[in-house]
């Protein structure tokens, strides 16, 4: 995740219709910062993330990362790594293979690559877990392994879709600290979908509030936390 220059994400007038639901996004996620994407369930948080990752193609508008237009690019060609809430690892492959697929998609690994895998595992606190199967790990350990894969991928943008939602509250804290450390080391751009107000306060430099398929508010975190005039936001922050 060594971004040479901050890769900001710009979502310009992006329109998308999924079934009967309409979305219209226009927002900016500053480079080298952590942006929290929040909002009620069903508001379109994950849809925004899918658009940035390339799993949805906009009907109109433009998405650019680090200044270059990625709207038409396949997910694999975008400079992003992903961490979902669950199923980040192929359950039938050991950790080294799962992480190795992040380096080379046909798993042609050099000894240097293997060393990097071990170092990444070490960094997230899973040193020596190369041969472990995902099923033998706890939920928190599996998410750590997903972070290790993001580390070896060295993409300037990291997208997280409620990465800690399935974990116990105590574990969330330590995972959030790990995410923060990795972010400071690599200076990457992070977008994290969350409906945990505590996480927003702890992690974010910047935040978006999504409601009814639109960006209702985007602001620096200090401003975001003070706003009382956005419907729904106060309830969200007080929870």
């Amino acid at each position: 995740m060594t971004a040479s220059e901050p890769s900001g994400i710009r979502v310009q007038n992006v329109g998308l219709t999924l079934g009967t639901r309409k979305f219209r996004f226009d927002c900016e996620l500053p480079g080298g910062a952590i942006t929290a994407i929040t909002g009620p369930s069903g508001s379109g948080k994950s849809t925004l993330l899918n658009l940035i990752a390339g799993f949805e193609t906009p009907d109109s508008g433009k998405i650019s990362i680090g200044g270059s237009n990625v709207t038409a690019l396949h997910p694999s060609q975008r400079p992003v790594s992903l961490v979902f809430q669950d199923n980040n690892l192929f359950a039938h492959l050991d950790l080294a293979t799962n992480i190795g697929l992040g380096i080379h998609p046909a798993l042609k690994l050099t000894s240097g690559d293997r060393k990097r895998i071990s170092e990444a595992l070490e960094r997230v606190g899973l040193g020596g877990y190369e041969k472990r199967m995902p099923g033998t790990l706890s939920g928190g350990e599996r998410q750590r392994a997903a972070f290790a894969r993001a580390l070896v991928r060295q993409r300037p943008v990291l997208l997280l879709d409620e990465p800690f939602a399935a974990l116990d509250p105590g574990l969330r804290q330590s995972m959030a600290r790990l995410l923060l450390e990795l972010h400071r080391e690599t200076g990457n751009t992070v977008a994290i979908v969350t409906h945990d107000a505590g996480e927003v306060r702890q992690l974010a430099d910047h935040a978006l509030f999504i409601d009814h398929g639109e960006v209702a508010l985007q602001a620096e975190i200090e401003v975001f936390l003070m706003r009382r005039d956005v419907p729904g936001l106060t309830e969200f922050l007080d929870l």
């Binding site: 799993f55 694999s76 992903l82 669950d86 199923n87 192929f90 492959l93 998609p105």
Partner: protein, 541 residues
């Protein structure tokens, strides 16, 4: 938490059904073993018998190989192209061969692949002089693939659909090339299913009777089941029927034993047609090759069905529908199917209740547990001894007591009920288990018992699975030729037997007309059954 009376009724019912089914099968086998065929002057297993065994295993092995090897790329293509036009209908089409009477399927295949069929006429026109033959080994293989490729494909597709949707996003995000997707995602998902599916298809092909009867025949292309039938019906050579039957039981027993060691492919969530979004099927090359494969498969499955329809509507229905023998056959078929289905359902419900009663006791002893296991394995016992073998045994058993045709309808009913039992059990037992789990405590707590409980609590929920099971069992029995073939006569004419005998006397137009009627009847029943099942799923959300 059953009352003592309920539990005792459960035990007693289980005992009666268990004794009944075991006796019905065991008596047939004992009759075979102890039949005094006199000295035939040849060993029990002569060269002829071995040759038939070899062919049975060869055709079953090749059929399995072809069915599974073709089903795999088809399932992969269908999974990769979730937006393929009419995909949901293609998946539904793959359920049709399972509901179609085998004899009718064979007629359809002859219409396409036969000497004067569409395909060979086309090939002859472009100058290919040595067309594909629907008779003999190649024909049996084509027919077995027609019936089993869809089954294997649906089970494989279900395995692929069970994968978490994140896997496809990860693959796309990591930029896995298609071979990596196959190696790291698809193959690990289907590999554990393959052995079980292959076992199931092998079992079906090794015991396939009707297809081999119609498309095979002759010493070069005869399987054990058909040879048993021929030795009894044409050669009247009980000694040979006995040795063939014993071999048949040995074959099914070994396959069943092997299958018990393999993981069973779960049909419970067979392909629903709902699918995860895929990001790797969009390239034009992937779309092109997947499309070609899917279209070829659809043609292969669809054309014989179209052929049944086209050939059928040409028949002179005004005359066919006024022939007395037709109405007699309809009456006999429906009567037999209804009786067989009711007996099958009653046996299944009794088994389920008995197992529930056994499970209900706080500390089931070894006896209770082994009795429960025995009850559960009853359906396999039915598979162990194929209908033709049971029929042969009872034929020999009853012959001293007069004309066998007098007992024939009863035997056909019983054999069809047995054949349907595994299917009925598979529909009913999960439905009953879920229902009991949801309602038993409340009903017991409220003190709702007996008829009130049946009317207010059990029937409203269970009527759908009961209707599904009934329609499946009836369709199975309506389309069956195996049991009737042994006993069919002037006095016992069912619809499949009517089609088969018209075919034998070269009145193909009549056969096609009757075949269409029978196909519509069976498919109608199957659709009615599955439609109920779908509603139930929607209800659950």
């Amino acid at each position: 938490m059953l009352t003592k009376a309920e539990r005792q009724r459960g035990y007693a019912g289980g005992g009666v059904v268990f004794a009944g089914i075991t006796l019905f099968i065991a008596l047939a086998v004992i009759a075979l073993l102890f039949f005094d065929s006199g000295d035939t002057g040849r060993p029990l297993f002569d060269a002829y018998v071995w040759r038939i065994l070899r062919f049975t295993l060869l055709q079953a092995g090749l059929s399995t190989l072809l069915s599974v090897a073709l089903a795999l790329p088809l399932a992969l293509a269908l999974a990769r192209q979730p937006k393929f036009p009419g995909r949901i209908w293609i998946i539904r089409l793959m359920a049709v061969p399972m509901g179609l009477p085998v004899l009718i399927g064979a007629l359809g295949l002859i219409g396409i692949w036969g000497r004067t069929g569409v395909l060979n006429s086309g090939l002859a026109m472009i100058g290919v002089s040595d067309p594909v033959s629907i008779y003999g080994l190649s024909g049996i293989l084509i027919a077995h693939v027609f019936f089993n490729l869809p089954l294997a494909c649906r089970l494989l597709l279900a395995g692929l659909e069970r994968l978490p949707p994140e896997y496809w996003r990860l693959s796309a995000s990591l930029g896995l090339p298609s071979f990596s997707v196959f190696r790291f995602v698809e193959w690990p998902a289907v590999k554990p299913l393959l052995a079980g599916i292959a076992g199931l298809v092998f079992m079906l092909c090794a015991t396939s009777f009707t297809l081999v009867l119609v498309l095979g025949g002759g010493p070069a292309a005869t399987t054990l089941e058909v040879a048993i039938y021929q030795s009894l019906r044409f050669d009247f050579d009980p000694a040979r029927a006995i040795s063939l039957s014993l071999l048949q039981i040995a074959v099914t027993a070994s396959v069943l034993a092997l299958m018990a060691l393999l993981p069973t492919p779960g049909d419970d969530n067979a392909a629903t047609g709902r699918s995860a979004r895929r990001f790797d099927g969009g390239s034009s090359a992937a779309r092109f090759w997947d499309g070609i494969f899917i279209v070829l498969a659809v043609l292969f499955l669809c054309l014989p069905l179209v052929s049944i329809l086209v050939a059928g509507v040409k028949a002179d229905f005004a005359r066919l529908l006024t022939t007395p023998v037709f109405w007699k056959a309809v009456w006999t078929s429906v009567w037999i199917a209804l009786m067989a289905a009711m007996i099958s359902l009653a046996a299944a419900i009794t088994i389920i209740n008995a197992r529930a009663a056994l499970a209900d006791s706080r500390k089931p002893g070894l006896t209770a547990r082994s009795f429960s296991a025995l009850l559960a394995s009853l359906s396999s016992l039915v598979l162990l001894v194929p209908p033709v073998v049971i029929g042969t045994g009872w034929f020999l058993l009853l012959r001293p007591y007069g004309e066998v045709s007098r007992f024939a309808p009863l035997l056909v009913v019983m054999i069809n009920a047995m054949t349907a039992l595994p299917f009925v059990m598979r529909v009913l037992s999960p439905a009953f288990a879920i229902h009991r789990q949801r309602t038993a405590r409340q009903a017991t707590n409220l003190g709702v018992f007996g008829f009130t409980r049946l009317r207010l609590i059990d029937l409203p929920v269970l009527k759908t699975p009961l209707a599904t099971a009934l329609s499946f069992a009836m369709a199975l029995s309506l389309g069956d030729l195996g049991a009737v073939a042994l006993f069919g006569s002037e006095d016992l004419v069912t619809l499949p037997w009517l089609v088969y005998s018209r075919l034998g006397s070269y009145r193909t137009a009549d056969a096609d007309g009757f075949a269409l009627i029978l196909a519509l009847l069976c498919l109608g029943l199957t659709i009615a059954g599955t439609a109920g099942q779908r509603d139930r799923k929607d209800e659950r959300g």
